[in-house]
């Protein structure tokens, strides 16, 4: 069993990978760093504190104290010149001029400023004795799955499957070809199918670790859960990994140099990094582009992963994206086998 060529080839693949520290970083470290950085940068903080200026003059300190007491407002008394400068540069959202009438100066196209005006007006009116006309009650909810990080983790998972599939297969194949190792294997009775299958098998082993690392990190750091079943996530990631391994095989099928295959790989991956909705929704692209964007394998994979992880969809509802992912894999693999340069 241990001396079966498929086992030995797969072991060689895996050893070459895990003995390469750079590869370990790009496959395991990088997506986690990315998730961490983006998760922190775009965490949902709410609108935060709004800064409001009160113009120096009669009654300024009373008004400023009242405003400062309101939750979410921070008020300061400023001279006229300083107040105008801070308003113009957006450091304060609103300038309140005490007097009768109380004057609000603000840029009405800025959401923050309009919010500040509403909050400030509430304080001013209540100070003059306005009471609530109706009884109201606030119910605050933070919906898991609606945060940016919830959107991001499945996208990073998809992007990582693409990257390690293309690089993992494409790079190794071309390296073996440039080092004439492929030719040396051809001089043995080794079966070609064993050689190609060894890539798939080693990908599946590392796939498990990659997915566990990223999903585990998302859950531990940001409480990004999986709404659907874990087996559905497993199925989709395996399908995605196989599909991109096929694409990697196709990209590497003819290239004779590392430079050539790197160029091809970037040519294939770059459009998908941008278009396939990894970092932001592809709905932002024009309507005319949508059919093309949706036909990309990474788009389909990201859609399927998000459907399961965020919405809790079942596999049976995901026929279209999974079909696209499968089709890309099968077609790439078949074409790659036809045109593969074995020496």
């Amino acid at each position: 069993m241990r001396d079966h060529p498929l086992v030995q080839l797969t072991l060689a693949r895996m050893r070459e990978f895990y003995r390469e520290p750079e590869a370990i970083f790009w496959v395991f470290g990088f997506p986690i760093v990315l998730a961490f950085a983006l998760g922190i940068a775009f965490r949902n903080r709410g609108p935060g504190e709004l800064r409001v200026a009160v113009l120096r003059g009669a009654g300024d300190s009373v008004l400023a104290t009242a405003l400062a007491r309101a939750p979410g407002l921070r008020a300061a008394v400023l001279d006229s010149a300083e107040a105008r400068l801070q308003l113009r540069t957006g450091r304060v959202a609103l300038l309140v001029v005490p007097g009768d009438p109380v004057v609000y100066r603000y840029d009405s196209t800025r959401t923050e400023s309009r919010l500040a005006r509403l909050e400030a007006d509430e304080v001013v009116q209540r100070a003059r004795g306005r009471a609530d006309a109706a009884r109201v009650q606030d119910q605050r909810v933070t919906e898991p799955g609606s945060r940016y990080i919830d959107f991001l983790i499945p996208g990073l998972l998809g992007m990582n499957l693409m990257g390690s599939g293309l690089w993992g297969v494409g790079f190794s194949v071309v390296q073996a070809r440039t080092k004439k190792l492929l030719k040396r294997f051809m001089a043995t009775p080794m079966r070609r199918s064993h050689y190609l299958l060894s890539f798939i098998l080693s990908r599946l082993v590392f796939l498990f670790l990659e997915v566990a690392a990223l999903v585990g990190f998302g859950w531990w750091m940001f409480h990004v859960g999986v709404r659907g079943s874990f087996s559905a996530v497993a199925f989709i990631t395996v399908l995605g990994a196989l599909s991109f391994a096929g694409l990697g095989m196709l990209v590497a099928s003819r290239a004779r140099t590392i430079e050539a295959v790197s160029g091809l790989m970037n040519l294939v991956m770059l459009p998908m990094w941008i278009l396939s909705g990894t970092f932001f929704s592809y709905a932002r692209f024009p309507e005319a582009m949508q059919p093309f964007v949706k036909a990309l394998p990474l788009t389909a994979l990201n859609d399927a992963l998000r459907a399961v992880m965020i919405e809790g969809s079942r596999l049976s509802e995901l026929g279209a994206p999974l079909g696209i992912v499968t089709a890309w894999g099968v077609v790439s693999f078949v074409v790659a086998l036809q045109i593969f340069r074995w020496r």
Partner: protein
């Protein structure tokens, strides 16, 4: 016959290698040695011609695989994976074959037992080459192909590899190797084919090829004061014991049957002409001299 674009790499080769023989393809770079050996190995398809190995042909499918089971092949420019150990590399190649040596046995054959757990990338050039031969030997081949196995190696590594080939032959194996080192061919090969420009220009045992020069020694000399007082080739050829004269740019080489008669005669002739020697050397004739006499060029810089 094999043609690449307009260049005919190998044309009209007709060779038979006998079982248990060590056969050498000898020639300068670009002579067509590698093309020839790769056609025999079934890695390159000839444009014309037939190849029969161990009674089989490269017809593809199961028979090709059966033939590969019986061959051991070392290619000229294979770089084995740097990040695998010696043992892992041998075990990988071993897994491709039905019958095979154990890893211990084959590392013993090439003397790499101590490097068993070392990464391939850390090996010296000679050790890498012995590992490449180990990967060729692991299948217990009947026929071993070696393509320039010692090119670029230091003398000690070269001798170690020669010992490996010697042990394989002692165990009854057949070897076909290419080299551009005449010394290697003389040392290892029962028969050699000298190739140039894709053709075999001489074929035989090293001894018979050297004997074909008609003499066993080569006397080389050069003159201090240039060509003005140099004897003519006809004068040199007339000296006793001289079989052939090969003038070159910086020196003249004489193929000589009896050094003890030719050298005094040569010195006498030069003295009569008043020419002063700047170099005088004699050596046993080698395959190198055979190549030079056939092509008029040196092997190394041909």
């Amino acid at each position: 016959m094999k043609r690449y674009a307009d260049v005919v790499a190998v044309a009209g080769l007709d060779l038979t290698v006998n079982a248990r023989e060590c056969f050498g393809l000898l020639g300068p770079n670009g002579a067509g040695k590698t093309t020839t050996i790769e056609i025999l190995e079934g890695l390159t398809a000839p444009d014309r011609g037939e190849v029969e190995i161990l009674g089989m042909r490269w017809t593809g499918g199961a028979s090709t695989r059966a033939l590969r089971e019986r061959l051991g092949i070392q290619l000229q420019d294979t770089q084995l994976a740097d990040k695998l150990t010696v043992e892992e590399t041998v075990r990988l190649f071993r897994s491709f074959y039905r019958a095979a040596h154990s890893v211990e046995e084959v590392l013993g054959l090439v003397g790499l037992e101590e490097k068993r757990t070392a990464w391939v990338g850390k090996l010296s050039g000679g050790q890498k080459q012995r590992l490449a031969v180990a990967c060729a030997l692991v299948s217990r081949p009947d026929l071993l192909f070696l393509d320039e196995p010692t090119t670029g190696l230091d003398p000690q590594s070269r001798r170690q590899l020669w010992d490996v080939v010697g042990r394989f032959r002692a165990a009854g194996g057949t070897v076909l190797l290419t080299t551009h080192y005449m010394e290697e061919a003389e040392r290892l090969c029962d028969r050699v084919a000298i190739m140039d420009h894709g053709k075999v220009i001489a074929l035989g045992t090293p001894r018979s090829l050297i004997a074909s020069l008609g003499a066993e020694h080569v006397v080389e000399f050069a003159l201090a004061d240039g060509a003005t007082r140099a004897p003519t080739p006809a004068e040199l050829a007339a000296l006793p014991g001289v079989r052939a004269v090969r003038p070159a740019l910086d020196r003249t080489a004489l193929t000589v049957a009896e050094v003890h008669r030719a050298v005094p005669a040569l010195l006498g002739l030069l003295e009569r002409r008043g020419a002063e020697l700047s170099l005088l050397a004699t050596h046993h004739a080698t395959l190198e001299d055979v190549f030079v006499s056939l092509t008029g060029r040196q092997l190394r810089d041909a």
